[in-house]
Amino acid sequence: MFKSQKFFRFKKKSIRVIKIMKKDYKAYLGGSIILLILISAIFAPLIAPADPYKTKVTKRLEGPSLQNLLGTDSLGRDILSRLIYAARPAVLVSFGGIIISVIIGIILGLLAAYVGGIIESIILFIFDVIRAFPPIILILVLLSIIGPSLLSVIVILGVTIMPRYGRVVRAETLSEKEEDFVEAARSLGADNSRIIFKHILPNIFASVLVLSGMDMASMIMWEAGLSFLGLGLQPPLSSWGVMLQESYQYIQTAPLMILWPALAIMMTMLGFSTFAESLRVALNPKLNQEV
């Protein structure tokens, strides 16, 4: 398989994208943040200096020290360790949520664009109904129905964001379908599945990828926001949003405490959105010359 021509082509194209991104400061910024988060998430037990669940109430709300680099929280738990462990739900929520919305979105979007007629109307209609609710309200109500847990947060966020993908995929498929090169492929005898999978999807995929980069950022934001409202994850899992909420009441006693999760959230969002932007440029063969 690795010797096939297809693989060579893939490698060539990837190298090209990497080459372009190598020249973009945004790629470095975003890439290193994402890497940091991934490493924290995967190797949390190895990196974290302490057990994030270990309470020690006699040592509560201490400032940074050699033992606890970022200090301790109200139960005397090590903030740095908690911050590192909290990368896990962040990663799970952002990747999980995005995978759900991208997959459902692509399927529905393609279906709408390709089948048309009543199916298309129904699908568009579903999108519209979902979009008619302000997302935070929708998420909140759904969460109250299903009950908060990591999985339900992921699924609900995925479903809430999904119409964006469905709509983009549909719109782009419709316009892509009219493109000359699709007609050319048809004139060569390509069947629908080839046209969809070889011609349309790859062309759409870049926009989907970029959009999902940005949405991964907003997933993190929503999850943290929900936790901030007290509706996110279950203890002992702590997310940055949970930490944010927990530290809110100490903004006067221990203002630094709220800064760490806030920074973590902002950094992650920054990472995902800058990386997505850089990828957008690199993936578009037409845009990437100037860089």
């Binding site: 309470t55 109430v57 006699t58 509560r60 908060p148 279950q234 927990e246 809110y248």
Partner: protein, 486 residues
């Protein structure tokens, strides 16, 4: 104008009709300023003193009470003079069939109220009522509404347009859910000092704290962690009051594995309330050893069950006896609210149990699902806070057998407990009552059904420009606030 006071209340008031009070913390201080009862707690104590009633007489068999009323007291906004008719109306509307008043329980044995003459009213009871003078009459159920006003407006309208005889007159309930009261200048006792009081709902203690510092409010609550810092500031004063409520860890005694008493006993040592007090209450709250406050009738101090005193081996043994020699394989379900303090407590208990290899799954639920789970009994451990009144009968009723599936969080049934409670309900003999309540607590203790953690605290704080007065459990008495400058 300095003549106006802003007071924070911990949530949006739900109703201003005393017969339908929903949330004690937010509704009560407002009602208390607008209405009077026949009797009241003497400010700063739980001692009952006359209010609208001059004096009263209780019949031999404790079933008839005759109140002599003060004369010439006028309702607000021209709703006429206060008479025995209003007393009859106020109490009978609560026990009426179609009233659906949550206070029906408070007047459980009231048959009717007789108007003897304009200034004399007679309460006729079917059986003696233990809590009549402790928690019914001086509390919201005993507040007197204007008959004329309720009849004119109807119940719904009255709930947001209350007419009483109190030191303050209701003025406005605005969008922001602020409630504005104006001083009643023809109050029958010494009038209040401040011309206007605005109650502002602020659910979050941090918000109250910030508002206090930025001068938005004059009186509010502090977060426990900032209590020391802010109370030391020149501009503010603060005090800690013990709350009346009871917060406790409840074991579900009706299902595996906590139907095992040995295991519950072990848990009593493992779960350390002192750590909860530090972690979640910043060390500001006192440990509770009873449902009741120490000076209340029927107080009985449960043992402390300290791990240090018996040593770990003792607990390991208990666990072994219960069938979990190394604690392993024991997985418990813990249900709690989504709010932050409760989650902290959950995390803490989780960690404490993990020291004995016991897994605790913490489920922080929204109110709705949580209550569902409570009532289904599908949990092993939970943490709850129940509002209490001054009367023990009220406070002990939740653990009755009939409350299983409702608010009996131990899912615990004990015939003797039920009997003792019933007996105490229908006597005015406070010694008998005290005796019974003590026994009931022993029963609970013997069965190890839970751990009393704390009564909690109230931490009112105010700017030094005012001089507020509080009830013993830290509830503001707005009409007694004076300005400290004068």
């Amino acid at each position: 104008q300095n003549d106006s006071l802003n007071i924070a209340i911990p949530g949006r008031a739900q109703t201003l009709d005393p017969a339908y009070l929903q949330r004690v913390l937010s509704d009560w201080p407002v009602m208390n300023s607008i209405f009077n009862g026949l009797v009241k707690y003497k400010p700063g104590t739980f001692e009952v003193v006359p209010d609208l009633a001059k004096e009263w007489e209780i019949s031999e068999d404790n079933t008839e009470i005759i109140f002599q009323l003060k004369e010439g007291i006028e309702f607000h906004k021209g709703y006429g003079e206060f008479t025995a008719q209003d007393v009859k109306f106020s109490f009978e509307r609560i026990i009426a069939e179609d009233a659906n008043s949550p206070e029906a329980q408070s007047f459980i044995n009231l048959e009717r109220v007789e108007v003897v003459d304009q200034y004399t009213a007679k309460l006729i009871l079917s059986q003696p009522m233990g809590r009549l003078f402790t928690s019914t009459l001086p509390f919201n159920a005993g507040l007197i509404v204007s008959k004329k006003a309720v009849e004119e407006m109807g119940r719904d309208e009255f709930a947001s347009n209350p007419i009483g005889t109190g030191p303050y007159v209701f003025e406005e309930w605005d969008v922001n859910n602020n409630i504005t009261l104006q001083r009643n200048d023809s109050y029958f006792e010494a009038g209040a000092e401040y011309g206007e009081i605005v109650f502002m709902p602020m659910s979050d203690p941090t918000s109250q704290e910030l508002a206090l510092q930025s001068g938005e409010i004059d009186i509010g609550q502090l977060t426990l962690d900032n209590f020391d810092q802010i109370s030391q500031m020149e501009e503010f004063e603060a005090e800690i009051y013990p709350d009346l409520a009871i917060q406790y860890v409840a074991f579900n005694t009706s299902q595996e594995p906590l139907n095992n008493k040995k295991l519950r006993e072990a848990l009593r040592y493992i779960i350390n309330p002192e750590e909860i007090l530090i972690g979640a209450f910043a060390g500001k709250a006192e440990r509770a050893y009873s449902i009741l406050l120490e000076d209340m009738t029927g107080y009985w101090q449960a043992p402390a069950f300290k791990l240090e005193e018996v040593g770990e081996d003792y607990v390991w043994n208990l666990l072994a006896e219960a069938g979990y020699p190394k604690g392993e394989g024991l997985e418990l379900e813990y249900v709690t609210d989504a709010n932050e303090e409760r989650r902290l407590i959950g995390a803490l208990i989780q960690d404490q149990l993990s020291r004995f290899n016991i897994d605790l799954n913490v489920e922080a639920l929204e109110v709705g699902p949580k209550i569902d789970r409570w009532q289904e009994g599908s949990y092993d451990i939970t943490y709850a806070r129940f509002t209490n009144t001054v009367d023990p009968g009220y406070n002990f009723q939740w653990n009755l057998t009939e409350q299983i599936g409702k608010w009996n969080l131990f899912h615990w049934s004990n015939e003797e407990y039920d009997k003792l409670w019933q007996e105490a309900e229908t006597t005015l003999d406070s010694n008998l009552r005290a005796e019974n309540y003590k026994k009931m607590q022993q029963l609970m203790n013997d069965d190890s059904i839970g751990i009393w953690v704390t009564h909690g605290v109230k931490t009112p704080a105010w700017t030094t420009e005012v001089d507020p007065v509080f009830s013993p459990d830290g509830v503001i008495l707005p009409w007694l606030i004076t300005s400290s400058e004068k």
